[in-house]
Assembly symmetry: C2
Homo-oligomer: 122 residues x 2
């Protein structure tokens, strides 16, 4: 058998190894978790609403996104646990707002993506 150790016909084994080292699976998984949180229509609507409004109570969020408040609460908990939003208690109301500069930039960037062109890149 030729040059390779045993089996495969790798096109560019060196590059494969190099790229593999740049982003390990754990990092990619963490990044995916972040995007996954933004990848739900309900949570996305909540986040874009907060991006515009700055701060909203659960009840107004539910009204804005047109979902029951319990659903909003569930969604907000996930976002808060991930450090994407923060909450501020004011009496019996809890106000939520974005709490991550990078996420805010991601949301802005994605809005540009939406408003610019949707189908074809350049």
């Amino acid at each position: 058998m030729p040059v390779d150790e045993c089996e495969v016909k790798k096109v560019d084994a060196g590059r494969v190894a190099a790229i593999r080292g740049l982003i390990d699976a754990a990092d990619a998984t963490r990044l995916a978790e972040l995007f996954k949180l933004l990848g739900d229509p309900t949570r996305a609507r909540i986040l874009y609403a907060l991006l515009e409004a700055g701060e909203m109570c659960v009840c107004d969020i539910g009204e804005t996104v047109e979902i029951p408040e319990s659903t909003a609460s569930h969604a907000l908990r996930l976002l808060r646990t991930a450090g994407i939003v923060r909450n501020r208690r004011d009496g019996r109301m809890v106000h939520y707002s974005l709490d991550d500069a990078h996420v805010r930039m991601l949301l802005d960037l994605s809005l540009q993506h939406l408003r610019h062109d949707q189908g074809s890149g350049q």
Copy 2:
């Protein structure tokens, strides 16, 4: 508090209506679909690999991400359908690369987020 038309105890009905008009549900859903595609560890690893490598064939992608090539092919199809990656046929091999400037920026931004230089911006 001004009296509402009928039912609820809305805290700020005007703001709710205003925010609701800024991003409608359809837009948010489309944005969520984009993030959802980035929100899978396998697809994320593929995208970050392409971000670094520029262009890779399916076989090297599978090797880099350590998945069967059929899994890579499935993932790449979703990404291609969404306009996130493009493919270039070269003989019996197909080379994939990123095909969306905004997505490339999203990936870069998320890498910054990962590297945790948070605190800039507001």
